[in-house]
C-alpha cells in the first residue's frame, strides 16, 4: 500500500524533473543547461530517497551533482567555450532524439519485463541503509577499499606529472 504523500512527492518530482530535463536540451545557454541538469539529477537523488535507498541518493548527489557537473562547468570556463547564448547546436537533434528515445524504450521494456508487474512494499527492512553498506565496506570489502586509495594516489601523482609546467 503506497502512502498518499509518497505519491504526491513522486508526481511533484516527476513534474520538476520533466521540465528541467526538457530545458537541458532546449536551453540555448550552455551554463543554463548544466544548471538544469543539476536540478534533474537532484530530482533523481530525491527519487532514490523515496525508494529508501539513502546511500545511492548521496552517491548521486556527491558524484553527479558534486563532481561531474562541477567538472563540466570548469571545463566550460577553462576552455573558453562560448558561454552564453549561442553557437553550440551541432544540428544533430534528430539523431540525439532517436538515440534517447531508443534508450528510454529499451530500459523501460527491460524493467517492465524483469519485474512482471510484481509489487514491492517498501519498509525499513527492504531499504538499504548506509550503515549496512558501511559495515560491508569495512569488513569483507576492506581490501578493495584500501586498494582504491592506492589507485587514487597513483592517479593523483600521474595527473601532477602530466600537468606540470616545464
Amino acid at each position: 500500500m503506497v502512502d498518499t504523500w509518497q505519491l504526491v512527492v513522486f508526481w511533484a518530482l516527476f513534474a520538476m524533473m520533466g521540465v528541467s530535463a526538457l530545458r537541458v536540451v532546449t536551453s540555448s545557454n550552455v551554463v543554463h543547461a548544466a544548471l538544469y541538469l543539476v536540478v534533474t539529477l537532484m530530482g533523481a537523488a530525491a527519487l532514490y530517497v523515496l525508494l529508501l535507498a539513502e546511500f545511492v541518493a548521496w552517491v548521486q548527489v556527491l558524484v553527479y551533482v558534486g563532481a561531474i557537473i562541477v567538472l563540466m562547468l570548469f571545463g566550460l570556463m577553462l576552455t573558453r567555450a562560448p558561454i552564453g547564448k549561442g553557437m553550440f547546436d551541432n544540428d544533430q537533434r534528430l539523431v540525439a532524439a532517436v538515440t534517447a528515445g531508443a534508450l528510454f524504450g529499451v530500459t523501460t521494456w527491460i524493467i517492465v519485463d524483469a519485474f512482471e508487474g510484481q509489487k514491492i512494499t517498501l519498509s525499513k527492512a527492504t531499504g538499504i541503509r548506509a550503515e549496512s553498506i558501511g559495515d560491508v565496506i569495512f569488513s569483507s570489502f576492506v581490501l578493495p577499499f584500501e586498494v582504491i586509495s592506492m589507485l587514487l594516489l597513483a592517479a593523483l601523482i600521474g595527473a601532477v606529472v602530466i600537468a606540470r609546467r616545464d
Binding site: 550503515e131 549496512s132 559495515d135 569495512f138 569488513s139 569483507s140 570489502f141 576492506v142 581490501l143 578493495p144 586498494v147 582504491i148 592506492m150 589507485l151 594516489l153 597513483a154 592517479a155 601523482i157 600521474g158 601532477v160 606529472v161 602530466i162 616545464d166
Partner: protein, 513 residues
C-alpha cells in the same frame, strides 16, 4: 547488524604493501633530499659529460631497489608459509596466497628493479624528474602483483586500473616528445574503453553467479561445482567480456591496436617494462580465471581463446614483417608472443600453466634487454629507432651487436637461447592437450617471425659505404649492467632451463574453495 571486524593477515599482500610504502618514501625523499635536476644544472640541456651517472641523486633508485628487494623477501616468506601449510585465502577471500602468485610476484619484482636501473640512467641523461617515475613504477608493480594474487574480480579490476593508470602516465613521461603524448592519449582512451568491457563482464558474472568472489563460500568455484551446467549462458558471456578486457592488457589480436603506438612513443625503459610486466600480470589473471576457476566451463571458452591465439600469432608475425621502426616491430613481435602464451592457456593443464610462467619470465628478461639496447642507441628523443639506423652497428659496437643478436635469436626461438626452451614448453603443453593444429599454426608464425628478427641482424652486420650516421651507443654502467644481465639470463636459461621450469612447476598450485 553488528559490525564484525574482519580477520586481517598481511602476509599475502606484504610485497604490495612494501612497494606502496617505498613509493611514498621515494616521493618524500625526492622532495626533501638532494637537488631537483633543473636546479642542479639549469644551464645544460642534457647531462653533464663526465659526471658520474649516479650524480648526487643516487638515493631514489637505491630506495626503489631496496623496496623491490623487500618485496622479493616478503614473497619468499609467503612461499615458505604456503609450502608448509598449503594455499589459503586472506582478507575475507579477497587475496589468494598460493605458489602461483608468489612466482609471479618475484618475477614482477625483478622486472621492476631492471626498469628502475634503466630508468635512472635514461632520466638523468635527459634531465627528467625521477621521483615520480620511480613512484609510478613502484605503484604499477604493486598493482600487477595484486592482480596475480587477487581472488575477487573487484580486486582484479582495481589492480588492473592501478597499474594501467601508472602506465598511461609513464608512456607520456617525456613530455617534450609529441609522439609520446600521442601514444599516452591513445593508450589511455583505448585502455579506458577496455576497462569498461572488463567491468561489464564482472557485472554479468555477478548476475549469473551472485558473487564476484572466486573461491570463497558461495563464490564462483562453488557455484560451478553445485549448479548443473544447463543455464550458464550469462556466465559464459561475462567470462567472454573478461577475456576481452584482459586480452587488451596482454595485447592480443583483435585488441592490439594500441600496442605499436604506445610501444613506439613510450620511453624505451617503460616499453620494456610494459612488454614484460603488463603481459605477465594480464596472463596471471587470465590463467587463474580460465585454467582454474572456469576450468569446468573450458569447453565453452576454449573456442574463443583458440581463435584469439591463432589470430594473434599470425597477425602479430605478419604485421611485424612490414615495420620499419624497430620499436613498432618489437611491439608486433610482442603481440605474436602473446599468441604463443595463449597456446599454453588453452592447454588447461599444469604443464601449460608452468610453461606460460616460464615463457613470460624468460620473454620479459629478454625483451627488457632488447629495449635497453634500443634506449642506448636511440638518442635523446629516440629518433634513431628505424631499422636502417642500426646499419653498421657491428662495426661501431661489436659487443652490443653480438648481444642484440643473441636477444633477437631468443625472441625468434633459436636453440641454445631461453626463447627456444620457452616455445618448446608451451607448444609441448598444447600438444599434450591435443591441440596439435594450433601448435602447427604457432610454428608457421614463428617461421614468419624469424624473418624480421633476421632482417635486423642482416642490417646490423652489413658494412657498406652508405652509412649516413654510424650508430652511437650512449651507455652508462647501469645500462651495460642490465643489458649484460638480460643477455646472461637469455643464454643461461637457454642452456640450463630445468631449475626455473621446476620452480614454475612447483608454483602451479592454487588456493581452493
Amino acid at each position: 547488524m553488528d559490525f564484525v571486524a574482519p580477520k586481517i593477515a598481511l602476509s599475502g599482500i606484504a610485497p604490495e604493501i612494501a612497494l606502496a610504502a617505498t613509493a611514498l618514501l621515494v616521493l618524500l625523499a625526492d622532495a626533501f633530499i638532494g637537488d631537483r635536476p633543473r636546479t642542479l644544472r639549469p644551464e645544460h640541456g642534457s647531462a653533464r659529460p663526465g659526471s658520474g651517472i649516479l650524480g648526487n641523486r643516487w638515493h631514489l633508485p637505491l630506495l626503489s631497489l631496496i623496496g623491490f628487494g623487500a618485496a622479493v623477501y616478503l614473497a619468499l616468506d609467503a612461499w615458505d608459509r604456503v609450502d608448509a601449510t598449503g594455499a589459503t585465502t586472506q582478507f575475507s577471500g579477497m587475496i589468494a596466497v598460493d605458489g602461483f602468485s608468489v612466482f609471479v610476484k618475484i618475477t614482477l619484482a625483478v622486472f621492476g628493479a631492471l626498469t628502475i636501473l634503466l630508468g635512472h640512467e635514461y632520466l638523468v641523461r635527459r634531465d627528467l624528474e625521477e621521483g615520480e617515475f620511480f613512484a609510478l613504477v613502484l605503484f604499477s608493480v604493486a598493482g600487477m602483483m595484486l592482480m596475480a594474487s587477487s581472488a575477487d574480480l573487484i580486486v582484479t579490476f582495481l589492480a588492473l586500473e592501478t597499474f594501467s593508470i601508472a602506465l598511461y602516465v609513464l608512456v607520456g613521461y617525456q613530455r617534450s616528445r609529441l609522439d609520446g603524448q600521442e601514444a599516452a592519449m591513445k593508450y589511455f582512451l583505448l585502455g579506458a574503453f577496455s576497462s569498461t568491457f572488463f567491468l561489464l563482464g564482472i557485472a554479468l558474472v555477478f548476475g549469473a553467479t551472485g558473487s564476484t568472489n572466486l573461491y570463497g563460500e558461495g563464490g564462483i568455484t562453488s557455484f560451478l561445482a553445485t549448479t548443473p551446467a544447463a543455464d550458464l549462458s550469462l556466465l559464459v558471456l561475462g567470462a567472454g567480456l573478461l577475456i576481452v578486457g584482459l586480452g587488451f592488457k596482454v595485447a592480443a589480436v583483435p585488441f592490439h591496436m594500441w600496442t605499436p603506438d604506445a610501444y613506439q612513443g613510450a620511453p624505451s625503459p617503460v616499453t620494456g617494462f610494459m612488454a614484460a610486466g603488463s603481459k605477465l600480470a594480464g596472463f596471471a589473471a587470465l590463467l587463474r580465471l580460465l585454467d582454474v576457476v572456469l576450468f569446468p566451463l573450458r569447453w565453452d571458452w576454449r573456442p574463443l581463446v583458440i581463435g584469439i591465439a591463432v589470430v594473434t600469432m599470425i597477425v602479430g608475425s605478419i604485421l611485424a614483417v612490414v615495420q620499419d621502426d624497430i620499436k613498432r616491430m618489437l611491439a608486433y613481435s610482442s603481440i605474436a608472443h602473446a599468441g604463443f602464451v595463449f597456446t599454453a592457456v588453452i592447454a588447461t593443464n599444469d604443464r601449460g600453466i608452468s610453461g606460460a610462467l616460464f615463457y613470460l619470465a624468460t620473454y620479459g628478461l629478454t625483451i627488457v634487454g632488447a629495449f635497453a639496447i634500443v634506449a642506448v642507441l636511440g638518442g635523446p628523443e629516440e629518433r634513431r629507432t628505424r631499422v636502417n639506423d642500426f646499419r653498421g652497428l657491428f662495426a661501431a659496437h661489436p659487443l652490443l651487436a653480438g648481444i642484440l643478436t643473441l636477444l633477437m635469436l631468443s625472441l625468434a626461438g633459436v636453440p641454445i637461447t631461453s626463447g627456444f626452451v620457452a616455445k618448446l614448453v608451451v607448444f609441448g603443453a598444447a600438444v599434450e592437450a591435443g591441440y596439435t593444429w594450433v601448435v602447427v599454426v604457432g610454428a608457421i608464425a614463428s617461421a614468419i617471425a624469424a624473418f624480421f628478427y633476421l632482417r635486423i641482424l642482416v642490417v646490423m652486420y652489413m658494412v657498406d659505404a652508405e652509412v649516413a650516421e654510424e650508430p652511437k651507443a650512449v651507455m652508462g654502467p647501469l645500462s651495460i649492467g642490465v643489458i649484460g644481465l638480460s643477455a646472461a639470463a637469455t643464454l643461461v636459461l637457454g642452456l640450463f632451463w630445468s631449475p626455473l621450469i621446476e620452480l614454475a612447476e612447483k608454483a602451479t598450485f592454487f588456493a581452493g574453495p
